[in-house]
């Protein structure tokens, strides 16, 4: 009787064990063959982004992985750049009190009358999106935000994505990790 009992118990145990192993094998096979998908990374769609400023504050990194990018081909090279200047600038020069950017990450250089070129110094950009908002409001929208993949930790759940008011974040295939704005005439 005693022997029978042990046999029954081990039989059930072995059955359950085999069932679990077969289950894991099936899961692994199903997902790696049937539902094989490429690796993905986080990216934001600049066409949906509203430049709310959450990118600068919600990233788990102290200095956000999101930074501003400039599509020069779309830029109007304006003298009065609403991405560069405060809404009410005292003068159209590079004085800090006239600039929107809190870290002075945009370099303004004279090209030819009346055009000025604006270049982002990525090392200084904190991804606050103030310039993007300004540019989108009155300019061509040539300034936009992008997740910089040399900084992004690719968290399983992106904290910025969870806080994004326009749900602009999604996982994109790793071989196309950027969603760029392009000039429509180009």
């Amino acid at each position: 009787m005693q022997i029978n009992k042990i046999n029954r118990r081990t039989f059930f145990k072995n059955g359950l064990w085999s069932f679990c192993l077969a289950g894991f094998a099936a899961i692994a096979a199903f997902f790696s063959i049937k539902k094989r998908k490429p690796n993905t990374v986080w990216q934001l769609d600049p066409h949906i982004c509203v430049a709310c400023g959450n990118c600068a504050t919600y990233c788990v990194l102290e200095e956000s992985a999101v930074k501003c990018v400039h599509a020069h081909a779309m830029c109007g090279y304006c003298d009065l750049c609403t991405g560069f200047f405060n809404p009410e600038p005292r003068a159209l020069d590079t004085g800090a009190e006239n600039q929107l950017c809190p870290t002075g990450a945009i370099k303004r250089t004279f090209v030819e009358d009346p055009y000025y070129e604006y270049i982002i110094d990525k090392a200084l950009c904190i991804g606050c999106g103030k310039c993007v908002k300004g540019c989108n409001a009155f300019g061509n929208g040539s300034l936009f935000m992008q997740v910089q993949h040399d900084r992004c930790l690719n968290c399983n759940e992106c904290s910025i994505a969870a806080a994004c008011p326009s749900q602009a974040y999604s996982r994109v295939p790793v071989d196309k990790p950027y969603i760029l704005k392009r000039a429509e005439h180009a």
Partner: protein
């Protein structure tokens, strides 16, 4: 004067362009006729590429390697020191180098979401991180917990003065891990949030930066962990719950003694995680009928607990569905439309700018709410069932004649080995054998 002039010119220009060429460039890009200035290209940002794909295979290889090594060191070599060194390596690699992402604990959610959402991509590395420790546990017990998991490692390091937790308290607190697992699965399945990742207490340490609240939470866990061994692993970890069930049927597992238990009781208090079970005492015949009655009562209580749990779960689901951004947005829009609030949020203004009809949003939100309602019932029943089983299990008689590592709770850390006198005999024999070989070779 200069200021207002600018604004006037600017707004005029703006409105002119707005009306004529809305949607195209408001301000045409220049041709640079005077100078031969070349525009910089934006494509330079695409030079900054994500981590190369080969590295994820290296991660998986390291995971498999550490699992094999951990199993060997625990079960065959029986060396706490070697396990400790491997644990440090895992903490450095998976914790500080890989910044704790992706880990098998969080991979539960990726796995669940990919089942419920066909468009969600489950990459090879995430799948491997989810399945590999499960398979290893099925063979060797919780060797993942002992020396591979960085969350376990960081807690193991701070364990200074372990105190024993009463078994009833341990079991009660562990109910929280089941609730956490259920909630994580429910919220991942509905695509609401990955709460395991969101409230990971140690990931902020691995990144050496993070939100203050999480740092404080992590610090609390480490402070408690100085006295109560591995509090996250024992009472919170949802992956540990799955491993716990699997290790009960694992092929090989930790045995305190390498030989036969001599019931010397030296190992009785050796385990800082309260995972050593004592031999059972003979129950007096008179208590049989009483315990039978108790068992019957508990079995009858089971359906009641199931129903109560399900009811509570479905009640909770209403507020939990607010974890989903669509539901949150729909509630906000509804409140604004009904005039309950006067201001707007970034999310609501963005939604209105898209021109999507509100009814569509409401329908989406109520679909999610419905799903959450069903899920809430299932979740509640699950918790009710676990609570019921927790009551039933102690009422069932078991017979144990030896001191042994608890089948589910043993974290395979190897601390108990050195408490067994038989282990010292084994080591001595091993040393003698080695000496003999050395003598021969000399």
């Amino acid at each position: 004067m200069v200021r207002s002039g600018h604004i006037l010119i600017f707004t005029t220009v703006f409105f002119v362009f707005c009306t004529v060429t809305f949607g195209i460039e408001r301000l045409p890009p220049p041709d640079f006729e005077e100078t031969d200035h070349k525009m910089p290209t934006t494509d330079q940002i695409t030079d900054v590429t994500p981590r190369a794909e080969i590295f994820q295979y290296i991660d998986v290889a390291v995971l498999a390697g550490t699992l094999v090594l951990s199993s060997y060191l625990i079960l065959k070599k029986r060396s706490r020191r070697a396990v400790f060194l491997l644990m440090i390596f895992s903490l450095l690699y998976f914790g500080f180098y890989r910044k704790g992402c992706v880990c098998p604990i969080g991979a539960i959610q990726n796995f669940v979401l990919s089942i419920f959402d066909n468009t969600y991509a489950l990459s090879f590395s995430v799948l491997a991180f989810f399945v590999l420790p499960l398979v290893f546990t099925l063979f060797f017990g919780r060797t993942f917990c002992s020396a591979v998991c960085p969350l376990g490692a960081i807690q193991d390091l701070v364990l200074l003065r372990p105190i024993q937790v009463a078994p009833w308290l341990e079991g009660g607190l562990r109910l929280f891990a089941y609730i956490y697992l259920g909630a994580a699965v429910l919220l991942a399945a509905t695509g609401s949030a990955f709460i395991i990742c969101r409230y990971d207490p140690f990931v902020a340490f691995f990144r050496i930066t993070g939100h203050m609240s999480l740092l404080v939470l992590g610090l609390c866990f480490l402070l408690i962990g100085m006295f109560v061994g591995r509090p996250y692993c024992r009472f919170i970890c949802p992956y540990g719950i799955i491993l716990r069930q699997l290790t009960k049927i694992s092929k090989w597992k930790v045995t305190i003694t390498p030989d036969e238990c001599i019931k010397c009781r030296l190992c009785e208090d050796a385990c800082p995680f309260g995972a050593i079970t004592k031999p059972t005492v003979e129950w007096p015949q008179s208590s049989y009928s009483r315990s039978k009655k108790l068992l019957g009562f508990l079995l009858l209580l089971m359906p009641v607990l199931l129903f109560l749990g399900g009811w509570a779960g479905s009640g909770l689901s209403w507020s939990w569905s607010r974890m989903h951004p669509t539901v949150r947005l729909a509630e906000r829009i509804y409140m604004e439309n009904e005039g309950q609030v006067t201001d707007t949020t970034d999310a609501s203004t963005t939604f209105r700018a898209t021109g999507k009809p509100t009814t569509e949003l409401y329908n989406e939100a109520s679909a999610i709410r419905n799903k959450m309602q069903y899920g809430g019932w299932l979740f509640g029943c699950f918790v009710g069932m676990v609570a019921g089983l927790k009551l039933i299990v102690p009422a069932v008689r078991k017979q144990r004649t030896e001191f042994e590592a608890d089948k589910g709770g043993c974290l395979a850390c190897g601390r108990c080995y050195k408490f067994c006198p038989k282990e010292h005999v084994r080591l001595k024999d091993l040393q003698e054998k080695r000496n003999n070989i050395d003598d021969k070779t000399v």
